[in-house]
Amino acid sequence: MLFGIEWDTANNWVFAWSILPILLKGLVVTIQATLVGFLVALILGLVLAALKGARLRIISWPAYFITEFIRDTPLLVQLFFLYYVLPEYGIILPAFMTGALALGLQYSAYTSEVYRAGLESIPHGQTEASRVLDFTPLHTFMFIILPQAIPRIIPALGNYLVSIMKDVPVLSVIAILEILNVARIIGDRTFNYLIPLSMVGIIYLLLTLLASAGIRYLDKRLPKEGIPLK
């Protein structure tokens, strides 16, 4: 029994059917962690991208180093670091928030590069033309550059959303009851790992296929000439 739901080990099919609602409860946690982690990655990535774009090297170089460092170290170790080290300095977060923070931190290194590449892909002529037309730099950025960069940025961010979802099982090490952890607990208690773990694999496959179809659709539908912000 898990989450108050009993399983029935009469035969394999009955067992699979009886644990499906339990796994789906784990799936809800997986999706929550994905979304919160993605949100953190979007915000932290923006901060890193802004710092890297700074004119002062004393600001931009540390930002480059941090990006490289985050990208070259494993999510699992970053997670352990946040989980065990933050409390020693008086920062006590619930496990779920620590997990989402670790996911967000790891992927902020990637999203910051997406932002930068998206902004740099806009031809320089656009900036020059705005200057000729006497737009302020802020106006140029907000209404000329950004609207054209967004359609290029969104599909890449979508890919990282899917990657984050695939990394959520790592959070099982800090006792978050996401789908893989739930499947393992069922396996531990019934001595049958094959069915729960295979079901998690199938559920993941369906979700990622669905998500990649969604990203392809979005990629096709987004206007290539840009999204007007006004």
């Binding site: 070259d72 970053q78 959520v168 993941y204 990622t208 296929l209």
Partner: protein, 224 residues
């Protein structure tokens, strides 16, 4: 400072396991990447579908799910059909990491092969090369240099992913660090050290991949 020195030895023991695992799984991943990547472009429908299914499956599910499946679920499947499929953790880790990174690598291989201009194939056909010769002597020497930067990224990705094997009780660097932490409760020093050790290994690995990249780029075009 004494503490720091006493941490180094166990962590280096773990680093050796991490290194072996990275090496084995990167090599396996490379072989798998070429097989599945070329297979996806095959004229033979069965080969093509097998490659597509393999790639989609391993890219579509989480690495940790694959690792747990191989380590915990496969022996039960083996029991059901009467074969002993229990694996030592190092083997399970190598297979899971290799197949996973190989599936990502397959897409890189496919992309690079498709990027070889059509007229190269036409010229090869005009010169009466067999399909095998065309692949080995015309296409791959041009495609491999294009793959190298992405392979470099995947190798780093693979190094980071090796940390997950600590969860199937393989004594890699992360596993050793976790043991040390349980023993000493000195989380800050141990995990900071661990992060920098991974960072150092990643820098070395990326330098090696850069050297391989330069070596491969010599095949690209010989000036005549």
């Amino acid at each position: 400072m004494d503490n720091l020195l006493s941490y180094i030895d166990p962590l280096l023991d773990g680093a050796w396991v991490t290194l072996q695992l990275t090496l084995y799984s990167t090599v396996l991943g490379g072989v798998v990447a070429f097989m599945a990547g070329i297979g996806k472009l095959s004229e033979n429908r069965a080969t093509r579908w097998l490659s597509i299914c393999f790639i989609e499956f391993f890219r579509g599910t989480s690495l940790l799910v694959q690792l747990f499946w191989l380590y915990f679920a496969l022996p039960i499947l083996g029991q059901a059909i009467g074969v002993d499929l229990r694996m030592p953790p190092l083997l399970a880790g190598t297979i899971a990491l290799g197949l996973n990174i190989g599936a990502y690598g397959a897409e890189v291989v496919r992309g690079a092969i498709q990027a070889v201009p059509d007229n190269q194939y036409e010229a090869a056909k005009a010169l009466d090369f067999t399909p095998k010769q065309t692949m080995w002597r015309i296409v791959l020497p041009q495609a491999i240099p294009e793959m190298m930067p992405s392979f470099g990224n995947l190798a780093i990705q693979n190094l980071k992913d090796t940390a997950l094997v600590s969860l199937i009780s393989l004594g890699d660097m992360t596993f050793r660090a976790e043991q040390l932490r349980n023993y000493t409760q000195d989380s800050t020093t141990i995990y900071t050290l661990l992060l920098f050790m991974y960072f150092g290994m990643a820098l070395v690995l990326s330098a090696i991949m850069k050297i391989l990249e330069r070596y491969a780029s010599r095949w690209r075009t010989r000036k005549i």
